[in-house]
């Protein structure tokens, strides 16, 4: 009976996980940027563990922590179900493992050399002792990163961010390129049904390589050792493992029914079933139900931990002795020690240490950041030194990097962004690109706004819709249009109007905020106009910088703000030049040959002014 139930549960798990994986991948596959609105209501990235934790620690209100609390409660009831059902990196690991096993399972290849080799290499899992010191170390490291505000580094051990790096760097880029190549081929035959992407999906080569590297590493790890990442490096796995130990429901072995055949251990991708001692390490079990579905004796069940009494827990503890005995024989005593430490003092010690470390490090890191900001603003002082500290090599030194509207400040962005690349995939203008040094080494793969690739569109607020970590908080389109993320700095001496004495106004025509006013310039006969920036109106979208034709250094660039501000809305009384006044004075010359008659306009006796 319970066997049937768990077989069904396993099928449900596979279907659910696959559906969820596709659902969260949709954002990265959305190369045309037209996911429906409801998608963002149920944004799957929003319920990811680390992002929800970052939101929880950044917001003072309980409201920002509810997802995190729900996930903790879920784990206290069901153990590490999150890892099998909701973690895209874990699901990806399962998918890759299946892919590695495919040759040995396909009827066509099963008996070929390749099939046999894959089966031999990857087919059989076996119990492995827990690496609790490593797990604790990575968990501490993760907490340390959060405390210091080094979330970009956290993004290299956090499973969701690693998935994002793979999906954003590989899935999105490759599918975007595929669409473009397809469209190019079709277009050359005069078929215009496949549209190319709007803007370039290109990302820096280095970040693309990192994505490939992560994917390959996960493939190798999953093929040989299943969920080894989840049970050594993953800080979420380590944390949920602690909760899993105390969870209400766990996978358990019915000792009376078990015949120690070892089938379950062969199927256990978490390598946590010690069938010889008839125990399952629930700190590593990810609730995949594979073991139960292969058990012919129905000896594995998903049962209540409480009420079963001490005997169960005692049985659960048995591996300590068992492992140390067997491991001792193999000369690995320290493993047993680590298990012991993990069991007795891990949780309370960790909590105490964390709290102390967290508070101290966070305060210190913020002090550091403030100092850096002062230094950064110093050499191009704006009204109040509210200037981004990050310049772009090869650009004008007064050009400074911006972060998207909704981020609030550069610090907030850098302290919360784990580099999951979801905003890179969502950016309609394709200007959010993973940085490879623009934000320093500690900001590797945190996205920056690349105004050489386009400009932030005033009709789009997609990055604020998708960001799950609180790096970019949600803003409406209307709010976004008035958020000043930077200010345009115009250098007259570089402008073609002054330099060559010819018309341009590319910046003026692109400005969505009317922050650039074209003023008469030079001799009147030449009829030239030169841009003037209304600083308080500028929102820093980068349209002027993108379109400015001057090479190599743009005549107009955006200087990012360290802390975003509210922009003023342009009103006509801010106008410096008023052509209407000129008009009234020289009305007789209006029009052309035949319109002299009393300035009749479009609808006098003759509606045609020619």
């Amino acid at each position: 009976m319970r066997g049937v139930f768990l077989k069904a549960a396993r099928i449900f798990r596979v279907i659910f996980a696959l559906a969820f994986f596709l659902f969260i991948s949709a954002q990265f596959l959305d190369v045309y940027n037209d996911l429906p609105k409801w998608y963002y209501k149920y944004n799957p990235a929003w319920i990811q563990f680390t992002p929800s934790f970052l939101r929880a620690v950044s917001g003072a209100a309980l409201a920002s922590a509810w997802v995190f609390i729900c996930l903790v409660l879920l784990s206290l009831v069901f153990g590490r179900a999150y890892c099998s059902f909701l973690c895209p990196f874990g699901i990806l690991s399962d998918i890759l493992r299946r892919a590695a096993l495919l040759p040995s399972r396909l009827p066509l290849l099963r008996n070929s050399a390749l099939g046999r080799k894959c089966g031999r290499l990857f087919g059989k899992m076996s119990f492995a002792p827990a690496r609790n010191i490593v797990r604790a170390a990575f968990l501490l490291l993760a907490i340390f990163f959060v405390a210091m505000g080094w979330t970009a580094l956290l993004g290299f051990i956090d499973p969701y961010s690693l998935f994002g790096k793979v999906a954003g760097g590989m899935l999105h880029t490759v599918s975007g390129y595929a669409v473009n190549v397809l469209s190019d081929v079709f277009y050359s035959f005069g078929i215009y049904s496949v549209e190319p992407t709007a803007g370039s999906v290109a990302i820096p080569v280095l970040s693309f390589l990192v994505s490939i590297l992560i994917l390959i590493a996960l493939f190798v790890a999953s093929a040989f050792r299943g969920r080894i990442f989840c049970n050594t490096i993953c800080p979420v796995g380590a944390f949920l493992g602690i909760l899993g130990k105390f969870s209400l429901f766990k996978m358990r072995i019915d000792e009376s029914a078990c015949v120690k055949c070892g089938m379950c251990a062969r199927e256990c991708k978490a390598q946590c079933i010690d069938f010889k001692n008839k125990t399952i390490d629930s700190s590593r079990c990810v609730d995949c139900f594979n073991c139960a579905s292969v058990c012919r004796k129905d000896a594995i069940y998903f049962g209540l931990g409480i009420g079963r009494g001490k005997s169960r827990i005692a049985a659960n503890r048995a591996p300590v002795g068992g492992v140390s005995a067997s491991a001792g024989a193999k000369g690995k005593g320290e493993n047993a020690l680590s298990c012991d430490l993990g069991r007795r003092a891990f949780a309370p010690r960790l909590t105490g240490l964390l709290l102390a470390l967290f508070g101290a490090a966070r305060a210190d890191a913020q002090g550091l950041r403030r100092r850096r900001r002062r230094l950064g603003g110093g050499d191009c002082a704006d009204d109040d030194n509210n200037v981004s500290a990050f310049s772009l090599p090869g650009n004008r030194p007064d050009k400074r990097l911006t972060v998207p509207p909704g981020a609030g400040s550069i610090d907030n962005f850098l302290e919360h962004c784990t580099g999951c690349q979801i905003c890179v995939a969502a950016c309609k203008a394709h200007i959010l690109k993973p940085s490879v040094g623009e934000f320093g080494l500690a900001g590797f793969m945190q996205p920056f706004m690349d105004y050489s690739a386009g400009f932030c569109l005033d009709t789009c607020h997609d990055c604020s819709k998708v960001c799950p970590t609180g790096a970019i908080n949600f803003v409406t389109k209307a709010q976004k249009r008035n958020i000043q993320i930077g200010r345009a700095i115009f250098n007259e001496d570089l402008c073609v109007v002054k330099r060559d004495g010819t018309d341009c106004s590319a910046c003026g025509e692109h400005c969505p905020a009317q922050a650039i006013e074209m003023l008469p310039f030079g001799e009147k006969e030449k009829n030239l106009y030169i841009p003037h920036v209304h600083k308080e109106v500028c929102i820093g979208c980068g349209a002027c910088e993108y379109i400015c034709p001057v090479v190599p250094h743009k005549a107009i660039v955006v200087r990012g703000l360290a802390v975003h501000r509210q922009a003023k809305t342009f009103s006509d009384n801010m106008r410096i030049y008023r052509p209407e006044r000129d008009t009234l004075q020289k009305k007789p010359s209006v029009g052309g040959e035949k319109t002299g008659k009393g300035g009749s306009g479009p609808a006098g006796a003759n509606p045609f002014p020619f």
């Binding site: 473009n180 709007a198 590319a506 034709p549 479009p602 609808a603 020619f610």
Partner: protein, 314 residues
């Protein structure tokens, strides 16, 4: 609203004047083909086009059976039709339909929009819906692979350009600009609309833009120019700040001569600007690219040399 009412009322008054329609229509020499039809006071840009193209001798004068027609409206900006920042969508739809009625094999429509989100601009402008309703096809213009290098032998500053594939030697090419204010070119219309046919606009901006506009016009085949001046954006162009900067003026020009179309458009702009006391009524001499194009032999800015039909619609 006030201004619009004013324009609409005065336009109606003019049209209601006795023999007005006949007077202007009578100017054209009926023995020669009409070079330009100027229309005023129509109900919609679409209705004006339908009247105007009939006066031109029907679309079949320009589109032969089996022709591949390329329509190039202005779809530069993410602004809905009432801003007057893009060509009137119904007008574009009507042109596409007229081309099919004349026997066109296919009608393709594109623009190199300002900003990467071209698909959105096609939609927001309303042009995509109308073109597709009429059976036409929208083609992207914002990826470099769509552009081919072409020599501009008659160009003074512009000697070569990356030109959109569809603009290179089509059977029929219909230029459909919208008349509006432009912060750089002052007034933008037919000649300036060709900046949406090329890839590297920056080169033009930094190398004497008016001259480049004129240079390119020597290269681009133009069968017909249809100027949409139903709404005329008088200030804050070319993107537009709000619909009230684009009063309804109810003009349209259909011309075989692109330079003459621009010359007429500039004069319409000036008179609409003066009537609304908004924007600057530019003199034709201020819009330098028109004279530069004329000097290169693209067409004539002297409208009196053409066989013009002026139609005032009630």
């Amino acid at each position: 609203m006030k201004r619009r009412e004013f324009v609409a009322k005065t336009a109606a008054a003019a049209a209601a004047a006795p023999f007005a329609g006949n007077l202007f229509a009578a100017e054209a020499d009926s023995s020669k083909p009409v070079d330009m039809v100027a229309l005023a006071g129509g109900e919609s840009a679409k209705a004006m086009f339908e009247k105007g193209i009939a006066e031109m001798g029907g679309m079949s004068r320009f589109v032969k059976k089996g022709d591949s027609v390329v329509v190039k409206p202005n779809i530069g900006w993410d602004r809905p039709p009432e801003f007057g920042a893009n060509t009137d969508p119904q007008l574009v739809g009507a042109v596409v339909k007229a081309c099919f009625d004349a026997g066109a094999k296919e009608v393709l429509c594109f623009d190199h929009t300002c900003g990467n989100n071209w698909a959105e601009r096609y939609e927001v402008s309303g042009i995509k819906a109308e073109v597709e309703k009429a059976g036409g096809q929208m083609v992207g213009g914002n990826t470099q692979n769509m552009y081919v290098k072409c020599a501009i032998p008659k160009g003074k500053r512009l000697h070569e350009a990356l030109v959109h594939r569809l603009a290179v030697n089509p059977d029929v090419f219909i230029n459909m600009p919208v008349l509006k204010h432009h912060s750089g070119a002052k007034v933008t219309c037919a000649l300036k609309n060709y900046m949406g046919c090329i890839w590297d606009r920056g080169y033009w901006h930094r190398n004497d833009m008016p001259q480049c506009i004129a240079d390119y016009a020597t290269f681009q085949k133009t069968t017909l120019t249809i100027v949409d001046a139903f709404r005329v954006m008088l200030t804050d162009g070319p993107r537009g700040k709000s619909p009230d900067r684009s009063p309804i003026a109810k003009y349209q020009i259909i011309s075989t001569d692109i330079v003459a179309a621009d010359a007429a458009a500039v004069k319409i702009f000036a008179s609409v600007a003066a009537a609304n006391n908004m924007g600057k009524p530019y003199d034709l001499s201020e819009i330098t690219y028109v004279a530069l194009a004329e000097a290169l032999g693209v067409g004539t800015a002297d409208i009196s040399r053409l066989n013009v039909k002026r139609v005032s619609m009630a």
